[in-house]
Each structure stands twice: as C-alpha cells, then as structure tokens.
C-alpha cells in the first residue's frame, strides 16, 4: 500500500446509493431556499431536482420537494440536518420505490412540425395526460405530467419528430390514501 501523505484518513468503502424524495415544510421567508440548498451544497449532498412554492398563504408555509441520491447514512444525515434549520417545520423522507407515494413531474414540450407529425406526437403523449396549451398550423405546445424517467425517454424519442424546446419542473410528491404526512 502506498504510504498516505495526508493527515486525514483515506476514503474507504462507499455504501449503496439510494434515491429519495425529501419534502420540507418551511416558513416562506427571505433566504429560506438558500438555507436549504446551501446545506446540500455545503455538505456535499446531491440535488437531482427541486420544486418549491408557497402552499399556505395564511401560515406563510412553503413546501420544498427535493430529489436526492446518497447512501442510507447520508440520507439520514440530510433529514436530521434539515430538521435543525430554524425555519424548517417538518421533513418527509420517501424512497423513490415507495408504492404509497405519488411522484410527478411536469414538462412543457414545443414541437414544430407539420400537422401529421404533430398528430403522431400527440398520440405518443397520450399516456401522460397531455394538454394542448397552444396550437398553430406549424407548431404545438403540449403539457405532460409523468415520472422523470418517462419524460427523459419522451424527450429523447421526440427529438426526431420536431421537439425543439423542453421546460421541466422538479418532482412533487404526495402520499396515497387518506393519511397525511405528519
């Protein structure tokens, strides 16, 4: 073994990576998003996607949904560190495979093509609740909601059918059934 020249330890085995959806309820105040995001960047955690908006005007609450990957130990740390932030009220943590949770992302797709091609595209989008938001005889803007990987696949496949612009949100999440997360 090569002799270490560092006063720090050498990184050793890394645990298995898991993808989790972390939901954070926060006071909607100045710089709260940078506190949450700064915690992730400062401690070297990963953000795959982020969605944030105020959900309760009266109580001034925002809901942040973050998709992240990390070892189980890192995920546990993320949750515990988030809970320490002063404006954070509660933190939810779901595995992506969790069947009791619905995850959705939204995407806007702009397609410039002739009408027969557009028809084809709309057909392909059928599974993902397509809504036509704008239509001319040369173009169409479609809104779809789906899982991340489904949208990934769609955007890849539609490239040849005239897809010229994509705008996507981060994932949002909600538990199934009557229970709410506490």
């Amino acid at each position: 073994m090569v002799k270490s020249k560092s006063a720090y330890s050498i990184p050793t085995k890394v645990g298995k990576l898991e993808t989790h959806i972390i939901v954070v309820w926060v006071d909607n105040e100045a710089s709260v998003l940078s506190r949450v995001v700064g915690l992730f960047s400062g401690r070297g955690y990963n953000i795959e996607s982020l969605a944030v908006a105020e959900v309760d005007q009266k109580k001034n609450l925002s809901r942040i949904t973050i998709v992240t990957t990390g070892t189980p130990q890192v995920i546990e740390q993320i949750v515990l560190q988030l809970k320490k932030l002063v404006p954070v009220h509660k933190v939810g943590n779901f595995k992506r495979e969790d069947k009791n949770v619905i995850f959705k992302e939204m995407a806007l797709l702009k397609i410039v093509a002739n009408s027969s091609k557009i028809k084809k595209v709309l057909n392909v989008c059928k599974k993902f609740n397509p809504v036509i938001l704008d239509k001319t005889n040369k173009s169409v803007v479609i809104q779809i909601t789906a899982l991340r990987r489904e949208i990934d696949k769609m955007t890849k496949n539609l490239k040849s059918s005239g897809l010229i612009s994509v705008s996507r949100t981060g994932a949002v999440a909600m538990t199934r059934g009557a229970e709410i997360f506490n």
């Binding site: 270490s4 020249k5 330890s9 050793t12 710089s31 700064g38 809970k83």
Partner: protein, 588 residues
C-alpha cells in the same frame, strides 16, 4: 400610546433583558447609532478590541469559561467578514455567541454601497441561524430569538444584521417574556426504556469505557458532578476528547487520559479493544476515530448527545440516547441506584481483568519524553507550569499546534470550563483573545494562554486590549521558531522538506511586551524556568513569556494518518527500545 424606542435603544433593552454584562466590539459607520446609545446603559461594558476576529474569540473565551453567551458588536462589510473565522470556530466547537452587525441602510442594500457585503449570505454556513432585520417592528423578537437559538439545544453562534436606518427607526419594545413563541421542542427525547437498555449493556460488559466530550462541559457544571458520580459508581475507565478535558478530574485513577491522534496509548488501545463504548457528548471527530473501518471493532456503541444529527453521522451506534447529557446521566445514576444491582462490586470483579490490561498499557508511559538539562523541553515547560499553578484556580487557553497538544497532555484539569481551545476549526490565534474574554469573566483568576510563537502573532494586537482594560493575562509562548505541528508532519510525511514552516524574522517578544506596555520575560535554561514562571504568576499585569524550547521536539504519541487506534507511533524512548528488540516495527 406606548413609548417608542429607536432600533439602537431596542438593541440595548434586549441586551439588558438578557442580562448581558460585556460586549466585545469595534465601531464603524454602519453601527454608529448603536455605539451612540452605549453611554446610556451603564450595566453593559463594551470591550474595544483591535480586530473583529479578536472580538469573536474573546467572546468565545468569555462564553466557554462562564457558560453565558458571548456578545459581539461589529460594523458592516470588513467588520462582519473579519468576524467570520470566530463564528466558524464557535460553530465547530458549539460555543454560544450572539453577533450583532451593522449593515448599510435598507435602500442601499444590493447596490455595492460603501462597506456593504452580503453578511447574512456569508455567515449562513457558519451560524446556527442569522437574520437581516428589515422591519423595526421585528427587532425585539429577533434579538430575543437570537439569544434563545444560540443557547438552547446544541449551543452555537447566531448573527443579527441590522441596517443603519433600522437603528434609527422607532418601534415598541417587546420584552423577552412577552414574545409569542411556537412550542419549543424539548432537548430530551429519551425515556426510561433507553436508560434500561444502557444499564443492561453496562451489566453485560466486561471491557467497558466512557468516552466523554465537550457536550458534558456545555451541559453545565452539574453535568460534570453527575459524571463523576456515574463513573465512580460503575468503576469503568474514562477517557476524554480535547474539548471535554476538565469535565472529569485529570488526576483521578479512573481517568486514562485524552484519546485521539495525540491521546495516550492506554486510552486509544482501550477504545480499540473495548466491548462497550459509551460516548457522552462527543461527536466521533476524525481526530478521534482514526481509520473508521477499524474503529473500536469489537464494541457495542452507545451515543448520548443533544444533537440528533450527531448520531450515526460517522460511526453507526447500537443505542442512541438523544438528550441533555446532564438529564441522561441523572436518570442513569438514579436507575442504577434504584435497581440496587450492586454494580460496583459485581462489575469491579468482572472488569478487573480489563483494568489489568489497561495498567499494562499504562506502563508504556506514552507521554514520556527525554528531558534535558541544557535546553528546555516544551513538555517539561508545560509540566512545570502545571506544578506551579495547580494550587490555584487556573484557566488555560491555547493557540493551535504542538503546544496545544502538549498542554492537553501534560496539564491536568480537575474542573470544567477551565480549558479553552480551538478544537474543531483549529484556529491559530484563538488563545490570546480568548484569554482576554476569560479574564473579563473571571477578574481575579489566573488566566494563561499556552501559545506557540507562530500562532500568537496572528492576533498579537489584542495585547493592546489586555493592557487597556488591565487584564493580567499571561501569554506563555513555547517558542521553537517553527510552526511546530507543520514541521512535525513535514518530518514524518514529507521527507523532512520543511517548506515555509520556519519563521526567519521573529520579533523580540520581551521588547514587544514592553512596547505594548506589559511585562516581557524570557527563559532559555531549564534551571531558571521555575523561578521565571513564578515571576510571571506574581506579576499583576499582562505578561508575554518567551520560553525558548527545543526546536526539534515532536509531539508523541501519535496515530499516523489512516491508521487505527492500536497502531500508535510512540515517543523517542520507545522507538529506541523497539529498534533494539525489533518488535516495535509493527507499531510504526
């Protein structure tokens, strides 16, 4: 119509309400209204430092030695950025600080105004929380909340950034007790079952050890008392982190010394071989654990901590107890006594073999060094300092480096809050300003900064503060002309390439002391050391003591990088012996 106060008045009313006696600060354009108000509040004394970093460290020393939060007042821009090092230091070592910073007027924020900086942005990662006060009506609430956040749970620094126009604006003052608060979560999230589990583990253990840290000190003097009771009740050996020193008496038989990179042979080996490890208020820092994969491989691990995020962060534990150390120990001791399972007797037999093993390790005498009658050995200097000061209540601060480790190894503390050192961040220049803060909190006590000549030059200007306020701090410099710890690592890891670790042109510390208006003493010879140290103690003025020590001395024992606890590098005596027998190579 209720009386309206200016923002500056509200700041002071809050400080009075919070029973603040001292603030450390430095004036500037954006805090002038607050400084203008100072004269109307005689119960609060302002200490003018020479650099804002000094204000931060002084407040840290004040807080650590007194248990009360330290308060810092600085101006915008450079004032705020200068205090960042101290805030980060306090954040790493869990010291409660409230920093108030001035800011340019609200309408100029974001325009790159004179002395403007994004203070809340810059200090976000180094505070528990910070606030930019944009509305005068929020000021009272935020000020009181700042004190609450800084001092509750795991303590730490907070910052309140107040624009200049807010300092002039007027509003009602709301006292602390009238602030509406959301429910405060209790620090204690454990129950009797957890304690029962702990006691079960204690009963089963045949090689147990307590590993205690700064959390015990932060929990207050009562926690240290309770810890002593628990340790004597169980008969278990106890080791402490750098920050925890003093929580348990350093000269007690059950205390086996500090652990970690420069800890004792017996403490580190006991950590490695134990079958039950009870962590009380420590955080498995990387200077403690050594190689993670081989850290204490055979033990059940218990972690008692007030901060849930400390648990399982580095080392997976078998039992976690989240709560205030004081309350956890209290319930544990109570349960132990109630169950009356004569732990002491049964355990002592069970663990007597364990103690025999520890005694065997102790015979290595790992803190030994080869003394000299020609040149002062730094370890010898610390030992003499200890012997000559141990009969009075002495407070020790340190800078960072070899001298810090020697002080930790050879100075025995028997009370908490007597040992102030920068552990987490390792800030050179911490000790001198910290001593200023300690002396203010304890005017009649002996306060000594065990320093290195390189570290102390980083904040040397604060001697001027000590002189201004007649604070008789003693700066005991172990002067080897090297950044000693850097030199040691270069010797051991970088083939003796002493790149930039030697200081060519040092000031004459005796003359420097005189220039500051304090007393300078120099010692070159081991023979004169005692008499000179006594002279230093007897002078009722600030003293700079230039103790010229061996330049080549290394700090041992040491866990080399990437090695587990049981592969320590021992001192020169042992290395010599092992060369002869050939057995020691495994140790190196």
């Amino acid at each position: 119509m209720p009386k309206l106060y200016t923002g500056a008045e509200i700041v002071f009313k809050c400080l009075e309400d919070q029973k603040v006696k001292h603030i450390f600060g430095y004036p500037g354009g954006a805090v002038l209204p607050i400084y203008d108000e100072l004269k109307n509040h005689s119960s609060i004394k302002h200490i003018l430092v020479r650099h804002e970093q000094g204000a931060g460290h002084a407040a840290e020393g004040y807080a650590r030695s007194s248990g009360k939060p330290g308060v810092v007042l600085v101006t915008s821009g450079p004032g705020a950025t200068n205090v960042v090092t101290a805030l980060t230091d306090a954040y790493m070592d869990s010291v409660p600080l409230v920093c108030i910073s001035g800011q340019v007027p609200t309408h100029l924020i974001g325009t790159d105004a004179f002395q403007e900086c994004d203070t809340t942005g810059i200090t976000r990662p180094c505070t528990k929380h910070n606030w930019l006060v944009k509305d005068i009506n929020d000021l009272s609430r935020i000020m009181h909340l700042a004190f609450e956040v800084a001092t509750t749970g795991r303590p730490g620094p907070v910052l309140v950034d107040i624009p200049k126009d807010i300092q002039f604006a007027k509003a009602k003052y709301i006292p602390a007790k009238k602030i509406k608060r959301e429910k405060i979560l209790s620090n204690n999230r454990f129950n009797q079952k957890d304690i029962d589990k702990l006691i079960q583990l204690m009963n089963k253990a045949s090689k147990p050890i307590f590993y205690t840290g700064g959390g015990v000190v932060n929990s207050g003097p009562e926690a240290s008392k309770l810890l002593r009771e628990l340790v004597s009740l169980t008969g278990f050996p106890i080791t402490s982190t750098l920050q925890g020193l003093g929580a348990y008496p350093g000269n007690d038989n059950q205390f086996i010394g500090m652990l970690g990179m420069h800890g004792t042979y017996e403490a580190n080996n006991a950590m490695h071989d134990c079958d039950l490890l009870i962590n009380i208020g420590a955080r498995f820092d990387d200077r403690i654990t050594g190689k993670i994969d081989e850290f204490s491989p055979k033990s059940k691990k218990v972690h008692i901590d007030i901060d849930p995020s400390s648990i399982n962060k580095i080392i997976k534990v078998d039992l976690s107890i989240v709560g205030d150390v004081k309350d956890v120990i209290k319930l544990t001791t109570k349960t132990l006594k109630q169950k009356n399972i004569n732990l002491e007797k049964s355990n002592k037999q069970k663990i007597s073999k364990w103690w025999q093993q520890i005694e065997k390790w102790k015979t290595k005498d790992s803190l030994n060094f080869i003394n000299s009658d020609k040149i002062i050995k730094p370890q010898y200097a610390v030992q003499r300092l200890y012997e000559l000061t141990k009969n009075q209540d002495t407070f020790i601060t340190t800078e960072v480096g070899q001298h810090q480790m020697w002080a930790a190894q050879h100075y025995k503390f028997d009370k908490p809050n007597r040992w102030m050192t920068s552990g987490g961040l390792g800030t050179m220049g911490y000790g001198l300003p910290a001593a200023v803060g300690v002396q203010l909190a304890h005017p009649k006590k002996l306060v000594i900064d065990v320093a290195g000549e390189a570290s102390v030059l980083m904040t040397m200007q604060e001697m001027s503060t000590a002189v201004q306020y007649n604070l008789p701090i003693k700066i005991f410099i172990l002067n080897n002309q090297y950044m000693g710890m850097v030199r040691q690592w270069q010797e051991l890891l970088h083939e003796k390439n002493y790149s930039e670790s030697y200081t060519e042109a040092l000031p004459d510390f005796v003359k420097l002391a005189e220039a500051y208006g304090c007393v300078g003493i120099r010692a070159n010879d081991p023979e004169e050391l005692d008499q000179k140290i006594q002279e230093m103690i007897d002078i009722d003025k600030p003293v700079i003591f230039d103790c010229r020590v061996d330049q080549a001395e290394n700090c041992f024992p040491m866990i080399p990088s990437g090695k587990p606890h049981n592969q320590m590098l021992l001192g020169p005596k042992d290395q010599e012996e092992n060369k002869i027998t050939g057995k020691g190579k495994a140790l190196v």
